[in-house]
């Protein structure tokens, strides 16, 4: 047991001891009248003086960590936008803490957190500063560390919504947290949703929600996910919570085959008794990629257009191509018999009735259903395919231009066009033939097809090929709707007939592009033989396809795209996507380059490095041939850190440097997570990292403090003082005396009293 100068027991026992000794001395002095008596009495008296002196020294050496006059507690107040509506609660809690500190004789200092601390004179000043300030919890804690001694206890009043760089673990103040916005009595709230920034079509994507609810709530809840662009419900799950909120719930969503940006809304089906039903919903977004693109390509006759486009599609390892080209008409009679032919029956039924919806993209080139006696119903199925989200490209040609099934209900429904000429005689083509000029429509064309080249180069390149079209199917524009764009017209020079050449439209949930003229293969031949802009053909078709499958807004002209997701405080996931066709590095290519017919093989890994001074690691390909790479990595802090992702070496004519992407971690992650009204997980992480504790919610502190609060704070103060005492123990007794001059003065006074008594009594 340690006694201190503040303990009454000490003074009582000390006083009693002194009195006892003095009484003994006096008694001895009076009772015995011999020569030894005065000396014996003086000895007892001197022993009493020494005991007094030792007691005083010992009291000074004993630690007094619970000396409450020496304790100081810091209260960090989150004064940000998300806390503004909780000002009243903040003041109540701050008052409670301030009152307790005063009673406990602990000094409570209040600060507003930000990049620097703003000191307050007291809890009364909360709310007097303008709302809102930036919510920089991590920065605020670091600012506190610079100001106070290590191990100083602090209490953070916050909802955990962090807009700054986040917390750095380290030694400094001990941070305890009191959460705001976390306690509900008559309400369910969807507090947060964490959706990965990149997800993959046809796969299950895990995500996490944080739900707040009243204590002991047990009713199962229903979460509904909706695509805000289409209004379609994309997921519905039932889940349960228990105990006290807020609570994290792991969920998963099965994605369909469609790619592109997904803007969604998550909503917990409200219960009738809820006081606030607006906080049941949150928005989220993600980019959906396809690991594989399933393409169906059906062509009515073999020609160079088919050959070139097929090779272009096959060159991309991401494409799963199923193609059919009609090699023989019903009236064609090949010599030598059927047994010599390698031809297979065209599986029209299987394609149009069963498997069409399994594809992401359908390319139909110069195909006349009536030639083969195929029902018109198949055209309706094609339109249904598009309406349900499929991508469709139609290339007109001689055979389709003469086909009656397209006359009504196809071109007009999809593109608002009406075919002009229909051949009345067999073998007479409906195509307009002759010298023609393609007229690109300014900004629309530039937006779609000028992605890979600088403007001047782009103009020259397209100028090289706009005179090559020599046949087209003529259309009148019947109905210009808002969702239809005519990107180019074609003009016959002989009679100045002007007709739409390339038309795009949104149809239901899908997209459709029409080319009314054959011969885009000539662009490849024309530019390739000159060695100038040989990728013009590739870039055109790449852009057409990306638009119809809705991936033009995910990845544009970049060769390499990187997305970073935060998995936990210091753990991150990086997803990189390699685009084999988009390459600004290939602009301006001359005579050297990649042949058209070679298949592009993706590298099996990418290389990443954390800058500055970080280790190198590998991003592995998610599945072979996908061009999508993933890896997880750790970083103590995002502040000032960058991630450098690059190819391992030159690839497909692209140098490793030109496909390199450097991403600032902070910028990549900020704004990606949609934090809502509170983030209790973050507060728990802070407390854990900084050796503190979660001390409850704001509603626990409106009237009084919780016992755990007092226990934790006092223990932390004690520990802090123990460290100081420990340091002090190292000093010697002699140094202690020298450090305390008044001690010497007491000793001198006691000695003087003793000497005076002896002299007065005539003692030796």
């Amino acid at each position: 047991m340690h006694l201190t100068l503040t303990d009454p027991i000490f003074w009582i026992s000390f006083g009693a001891s002194c009195l006892a000794l003095i009484a003994v001395a006096v008694s001895v002095f009076r009772s015995r009248r011999d020569a030894k008596k005065p000396a014996f009495a003086c000895l007892i008296f001197r022993v009493a003086l020494v005991l007094i002196f030792i007691s005083v020294i010992g009291a000074l050496k004993f630690k007094s960590p619970l000396s409450r006059e020496q304790g100081e507690m810091h209260v960090l107040v989150d004064h940000s936008k998300s806390m503004e509506d909780k000002e009243k609660d903040i003041r109540k809690v701050a008052k409670t803490l301030s009152d307790w500190a005063q009673e406990s004789k602990i000094s409570a200092r209040f600060h507003i957190i930000g990049d620097e601390l703003t000191d307050l004179g007291g809890f009364q000043e909360i709310g007097k500063l303008p709302w809102p300030m930036e919510s920089r919890i991590g920065s605020g804690i670091e600012a506190l560390d610079r100001k106070v001694e290590r191990g100083s206890p602090a209490v953070l009043l916050s909802d955990g919504v962090e807009t700054g760089k986040g917390l750095v673990s380290g030694a400094g103040a001990l941070i305890n947290t009191i959460s705001f916005g976390a306690d509900l009595e008559d309400d369910i709230a969807l507090v947060a949703i964490r959706f990965p920034p990149v997800a993959f079509a046809r796969s299950e994507v895990p995500y996490k929600i944080t739900v707040n609810f009243p204590k002991e709530f047990k009713t199962p809840l229903v979460l509904i996910l909706k695509d805000t662009a289409t209004g379609e419900v994309i997921g519905r799950s039932t889940f349960s919570v228990s105990g006290t909120g807020p609570q994290n719930v792991e969920m998963s969503l099965m994605l369909g085959s469609k790619a592109g940006s997904l803007h969604g809304e998550a909503r917990i089906a409200p219960l009738p008794w809820e006081s606030n039903k607006d906080n049941n919903r949150l928005r989220f977004k993600t980019s959906i990629l396809r690991e594989k693109l399933r393409i169906l390509y059906l062509c009515g006759m073999p020609n160079n257009d088919y050959s070139y486009l097929r090779e272009f599609l096959r060159a991309n390892p991401r494409n799963e191509l199923v193609s059919f080209v009609i090699l023989r008409d019903p009236h064609d009679v090949p010599p030598y018999g059927e047994s010599e032919l390698s031809l297979i029956p065209f599986p029209a039924h299987e394609i149009f009735r069963t498997h069409l919806n399994e594809f992401d993209l359908f390319i139909l080139q110069d195909f006349a259903f009536s030639r083969f006696g195929l029902p018109r119903d198949y055209l309706r199925r094609v339109k249904d395919f598009i309406a349900q989200g499929g991508g469709f490209v139609f290339l007109s040609g001689e055979k389709s231009a003469n086909a009656s099934e397209y006359k009504q209900g196809f071109f007009d429904d999809l593109w608002g066009l009406e075919p002009v000429a229909q051949a009345l005689e067999q073998n007479k083509s409906s195509l307009i033939r002759g010298d023609s000029l393609v007229e690109y429509q300014g900004d629309l064309w530039k937006r779609r097809f000028a992605l890979l080249l600088a403007d001047e180069d782009s103009r020259k390149a397209w100028g090289m090929v706009n005179k090559l079209a020599d046949a087209f199917q003529q259309f009148n524009v019947k109905d210009i709707r808002k969702n239809i764009d005519i990107l180019a017209y074609i003009i016959n020079k002989e009679d100045n007939i002007k007709s739409p050449a390339i038309v795009e439209s949104q149809y239901g949930k899908g997209r459709a592009t029409l080319l009314t003229f054959p011969g885009t293969w000539l662009w490849k031949a024309h530019t390739g033989i000159r060695g100038e802009h040989p990728y013009l053909y590739d870039s055109f078709w790449e852009s057409v396809i990306k638009w119809v499958i809705k991936e033009e807004d995910v990845f544009k002209k970049d060769v390499l795209k990187v997305a970073i997701e935060k998995e936990s405080l210091n753990s991150f996931k990086v997803v990189a996507y390699l685009n084999p066709m988009g390459s600004s590095a290939r602009a301006g290519f001359k005579s050297k380059g990649k042949p058209m017919k070679e298949k592009i093989a993706f590298p099996s890994y990418l290389v990443a490095k954390l800058l500055p001074k970080g280790g190198q690691f590998i991003l592995k390909e998610k599945t072979k041939g996908s061009g999508i790479y993933e890896a997880s990595f750790s970083a103590q802090s995002t502040s000032g850190k960058k991630l450098d992702v690059r190819l391992p070496s030159q690839w497909a004519g692209v140098s490793a440097d030109s496909a390199r992407v450097i991403v600032e971690l902070t910028r990549a992650i900020e704004g990606k997570e949609l934090r809502a009204t509170s983030d209790i997980d973050y507060l728990r992480e802070i407390a854990s990292l900084r050796h503190g504790q979660v001390l409850g919610t704001s509603s626990d502190y409106k009237e009084d403090i919780l016992p755990v609060f007092e226990k934790v704070i006092l223990e932390q103060l004690q520990r802090k003082n123990e460290e100081k005492s420990y340091i002090a123990k190292e000093a010697s007794w002699f140094e202690t005396i020298l450090d305390s001059p008044w001690l010497l003065a007491v000793l001198a006074m006691l000695m003087f009293i003793e000497w005076s008594f002896r002299r007065w009594q005539g003692l030796t």
Binding site: Y336, E340, L468, A525, G528, I529, G531, K597, E598
Partner: protein, 254 residues
């Protein structure tokens, strides 16, 4: 006098109108091929009537739509090749090879322009002359590649007919050779003359006998030539997975 002038005018007009060198209305959706021979700018090559007959044959046998001017004489110049996807090179005694500029243009057309070059040795006798020159030119075009035999499971031998032997006027070689760029053969070389067996006279009878296989050899030749065109226009289509089981079954039955 006036009558003579009128007749002269009509004759000139008809002469111009019938000139095969004028492309009346070029259409990129119809097939047109180029012919490189020892006599440029002229169709006075070894087979003047062949191309018309071949166009007719393709039109009645397959869904290919030949251009009204199916074959046009060309040289390896930009303006000549830029609108063609298939070019035949007739390797005979009059062929003297290419200049370096012509070679460069031809190479770009093959690699970047997507073209297909079909070389036919039209010398019926086993002669090293045209064959050696062809090999020399090809090696100059592609110094890092050599002509190699095209395997029998190539899509070339299955693109329309199932072809099991190369055919030709005389069977100097038993395989085709080629140079592949990626998966496709950009250059296809037949050491045998596979064009002569297709020529018919005005009564429809074949002009030349095939040796030693006779009509069976001619049949294989016709099938192979048909396949060459379909291969140039469809690529590796017949190697797609969906076709394989059917083709394998048929081959086993044969």
């Amino acid at each position: 006098m006036k009558n003579y002038l009128f007749l002269l005018f009509i004759s000139v007009f008809l002469l111009i109108a019938s000139s095969p060198h004028r492309l009346i209305a070029y259409s990129s959706d119809r097939l047109q091929i180029g012919i490189i021979s020892g006599k440029p700018d002229s169709l006075e090559n070894a087979y003047p009537v062949l191309w018309r007959q071949l166009a007719r044959f393709l039109q009645t046998t397959t869904t290919i739509e030949p251009h009204p001017v199916f074959a046009t004489p060309v040289t390896p110049k930009i303006k000549k090749l830029e609108k063609l996807g298939i070019v035949f090179l007739l390797g005979d005694a009059s062929f003297k090879g290419f200049s370096s500029q012509e070679r460069e243009i031809l190479k770009r057309w093959l690699i970047l322009g997507g073209g297909t070059l079909v070389i036919v040795n039209t010398e019926s006798a086993p002669s090293s002359g045209p064959d050696a020159l062809v090999r020399k030119e090809v090696s100059k075009l592609f110094p890092d590649k050599t002509l190699g035999s095209i395997p029998w499971d190539s899509a070339l031998f299955r693109s329309f007919y199932l072809v099991k032997s190369v055919g030709g006027l005389t069977l100097n070689a038993r395989f085709l050779e080629g140079i592949a760029i990626g998966e496709r053969y950009a250059i296809i070389y037949s050491p045998n003359d596979i064009l002569a067996p297709l020529i018919k006279d005005s009564e429809g009878s074949y002009l030349f006998r095939c040796y030693p296989g006779g009509e069976k050899q001619r049949m294989e030749t016709v099938k192979l030539v048909t396949n060459v065109f379909l291969y140039a226009l469809t690529g590796t289509y017949k190697k797609d997975v969906i076709h394989m089981p059917f083709i394998e079954r048929k081959l086993r039955r044969k």
